[in-house]
Subunit: 338 residues, 4 copies
């Protein structure tokens, strides 16, 4: 596969919020041809056009949703050079295994390949990982931090939405911190909870409310890839898209503003991250875009960092494209809405 | 039952949005004692406290939700002087029949007793009415208009939310109109769609969108009780509570502003309706209250009337209490949040 | 100016909601180079970077807002081939006059050149039009309907947001109608009210509420360009972007669904308009896009048509680009977010 | 003044969001007669009925807003037994001084009497306190904690909205903490920012965004009355009413769940505070009510506590009534919407 040739891509799990955004972005990515949109076998959505589920995609993605069966899987193997997986975690673990060989790139947006240890899946995801050997093959797709590894990855685990916002804020200053744990207070829009109807995600119930206290599965992901203990508390807000993470950090004595500014300067060569001293990013600044906006504030040894992303884009679909771009030597931003 | 003695009341269908509001209002109504909150037999909510489903009711209504079975139905018959029904329509038709005798007042918030003809239920509700003989017994509980009938009613059909807003705007000026149909453009908050999780009512899907064009079941209800042809078009808005109905009416030649003002003066003796000439009521003016706010505007023979209500209160629970008050000779507003 | 050469463009009135969207779209339009962002002389925003007012534009449009004075006006005359005006109406009338000659294209997003008669400005806009001779020069930029005229226009009056939605829904079926007036019930997001802080547009006040009853200035615009009497009633909704217009139309006896379908087929060659029979477009389907979604419903001689647009895009900035594209022989959709 | 006699009350600063809520509650408080609603002299709102500014108050509070001048001040002195002040801080300091004697109770909802040291006003409020001698007279009206002092107070400083939520969560467990500072992450609805139109509080700008980092004036208030160092970070959310505060606390080694539960049991005798172990209170649970809902979660020595209030009620107007009730020996909840 050489640069700028068109790559045949499919999306599995296309009917979800992240999956449908992915289809939209893949369809207009100059390097990719969207060859198929799949849902799990037996899904009620099989046979329906994606644009019937998402009328905003009429004229944008007019493919039908195909139920994934052995035949279509075989066809994917025969033709797809890039497979995006946006299904439930356990299904994703199975699919990645079935599709993994040296003929295609697998970009998994589920959590199935984000944690290093099989045991973590029992503890945090509630299932025994069926193919733990792939965990060490997967490259964690935090695009700005794993640029080199991604250039050669065949299995990419796109980070969760909360970890993306948190780690982008945390990693530059990690060496400046005096103590753990880091406090991460985060608020997400309701698309983060997925498209399956539940009481909690009804429009009539939306409000601002914490959840998953001490036990959200993004906590171990943040800790592993951030190499820091964190107290991570997600909240569900009464809005559709976006995450705002507020991090409370303790700097080592003597750390100057200059030190912090230099640390965040790492993002000067990464166009999807915008940083500002004493900036307070708003979710509406990044909604519908692939940006992560970071603002930091220091007083003595206290450091407060805000990070805002669109959970479905930088927290899922557009970060997946950044990973793909890095894999194929494209500029990070190709096809990313900025 | 004499005035101001405490009446034993139960609510059946207490787990829904209207039902839970009703429980809250009944619990603090000076004339009533809330003796039980019921859900249908086999409901997953049976056994749960209402305040677990609705944490805002902690300390307000601490009763458990009881599954309705033959035993509890017998007990309701033995003790309840007032039964509020807020279940699905067909269940309500059955319940009203089982509970209807001269020992208690039944106040039905479902649609089961709002239409005059049994055939209407086949056409508009999709079921064959099991007890059509009760349709002629029921008094339509549009409180401001059926004050006299309600004083003697034993079965009260509380109007639907859209019909309440529409009819309160329409009825005073009906004799001034030159032509039909009346255009009614209405927008409702999502609680109007009920508590059952569906794709359409997810927080992630809320927007502004028409639905039920030409075939919403509130159209025949409006036409029957308004004695006018209407083109009624409901819309679902991205908010929780409230309805704004905008009516487009054609006045007879020569109708003056004075004529219209006099027509709406009918509400001067009805404290739950507030009228203003050239007023544009906002949903937030009536949210969480039992008011209906009406504003009217005339230009030549064009008359535009806005009516705003809280769909769960004036459009359901508080109007039910107005009916109860009228039945027992209380002031209309007793227990109504104003 | 030949096709695909880069055209130097400036935006005057860049600090408003429509103006800033315009800057964003102009900056990435392949035919245009955004050479300047202007605000009125003495504006408090002069000297500030546009991306400080709109942090979402950091890295996207990094130009400063320049106060417009005689010097900068001279410079615009010397260099700009395309001038977008997004100021207040009266200022726009003055600016268009000062800049109008055969060396540049003026695309005016204000209302200053939408109405044919100077007298209309006294009546509906509250000022005496300073340069009425330009009113007959201006081409009304309803892109899908004035394709031919726009190809030669030097002064383009971009339609208002409400008229855009209304006229796109109305014009195809106008010849099928039996009577007037047409009822247009429309709801807009709060960005339509502009960026100037007022009580009515505070976040704390947003709700759903009618306004401008019988006297909104978009009514004569709709009537003039739709050649039909309308009763147009705008409402302000509790959301940021988008308009949903619901039109109530009376078809001539004998009009079939086929007739209506054929009428709307006019949009098959216009990619920014998507039409569906029995479709109910939602604002979220067109938010942040340049689409207009139309859904139509017929019952007997009643025709109900919904039209949804993003008020800042199809209702302002992206329609301005469609006009520009048509003027320069580009495909309509170049640079339009779809 | 003996219990249950009617007390003459006035509200100064009645046109604001907290002031208008206060008028509504005072008007229906059984102990009070609302004798006047005042705004500052020269306010554009003077002469207007409060219910014109707030149409939801039509029929509820029909008094006009009176401009406060020397004459009306004299009249207030002659007649009012209770004066509520809901003006800007500096004006409140002046008013309290002018009205303070042993003939009436002053309940100040501004920040003018919340801090102990005059110097604090220079630092945190930007003005030199004109009457510092009153600072030591004022009783801080955190109703659940100063029950005794409030019984004899003549000048009551009602706590700020953020301090109310924070201190109610913090104070019970303060003796169990191992270290400082306490992290307080709080999100408020936009009514907290007041009724004066600003860009930040426009409906078109609302999103989720931090502000006042390290320098919000509620930080010293929390620290003083909580006797603890805090890192307090407020955020503005895209909703109208309510505050959710999330507190991150470090327990001393060996602290058990039992210890924490016993600490929070202090609220069992305070009906306006509802506490739940492992509860995650939502803002919608307390919206439009005088409740504070607290949920606490412990893991090892980590303690996370959520507190939700309605910022205009428990965070302002209804807490003012609780203070009044305690002052006059009434039950705390009289007139408080629960």
């Amino acid at each position: 596969m050489k640069k700028n040739s068109s790559l045949t891509a499919v999306v599995i799990g296309a009917s979800g919020y992240a999956g449908s955004e992915l289809c939209r972005l893949v369809a207009r990515h100059p390097l990719l041809t969207l060859a198929g949109c799949f849902v799990s076998e037996g899904s009620v959505d099989a046979g329906t056009k994606l644009s019937v589920l998402y009328p905003k995609l009429r004229g944008v993605v007019d493919l039908p949703l195909q139920g994934l069966d052995s035949l279509s899987l075989k066809q994917i193997k025969a033709t797809a050079q890039v497979v995006f997986i946006a299904t439930e975690h356990e299904a994703a673990a199975q699919l990645a295994y079935q599709l993994y060989d040296n003929k295609r790139i697998i970009i998994d947006l589920s959590g199935a390949h984000r944690l290093a240890e099989a045991q973590d899946y029992v503890t945090h995801y509630g299932f025994s990982h069926p193919h733990p050997q792939l965990l060490s093959e997967a490259v964690y797709g935090l695009a700005e931090w794993h640029t080199g590894l991604l250039a050669n990855a065949n299995l990419i685990a796109v980070p969760g939405c909360y970890p993306t916002a948190t780690l982008l804020a945390l990693k530059p200053v990690q060496h400046l911190l005096a103590s753990q744990p880091v406090i991460v207070n985060a608020v997400s829009g309701v698309t983060g909870a997925g498209r399956k109807p539940t009481h909690k995600t009804l429009g009539a119930e939306l409000s601002l409310q914490g959840y998953g206290v001490f036990n959200h599965r993004h906590q171990p992901e943040i800790e592993q890839h951030g190499q820091t203990a964190v107290v991570f508390t997600p909240h569900l807000g009464a809005f559709k898209r976006g995450i705002l993470a507020t991090l409370y950090l303790q700097l080592a004595e003597g750390t100057s503003c200059q030190d912090v500014a230099e640390a965040y300067a790492v993002y000067q060569k990464h166009p999807c991250v915008r940083v500002g001293y004493q900036h307070t990013p708003a979710i509406q600044d990044v909604e519908h875009s692939g940006y992560c906006d970071i603002g930091w504030h220091r007083k003595g040894t206290q450091l407060i960092v805000f990070a805002a992303i669109d959970n479905l884009l930088k927290g899922a679909a557009s970060q997946a494209l950044q990973c793909l771009n890095l894999r194929f030597g494209e500029p990070q931003t190709t096809g990313v809405p900025l």
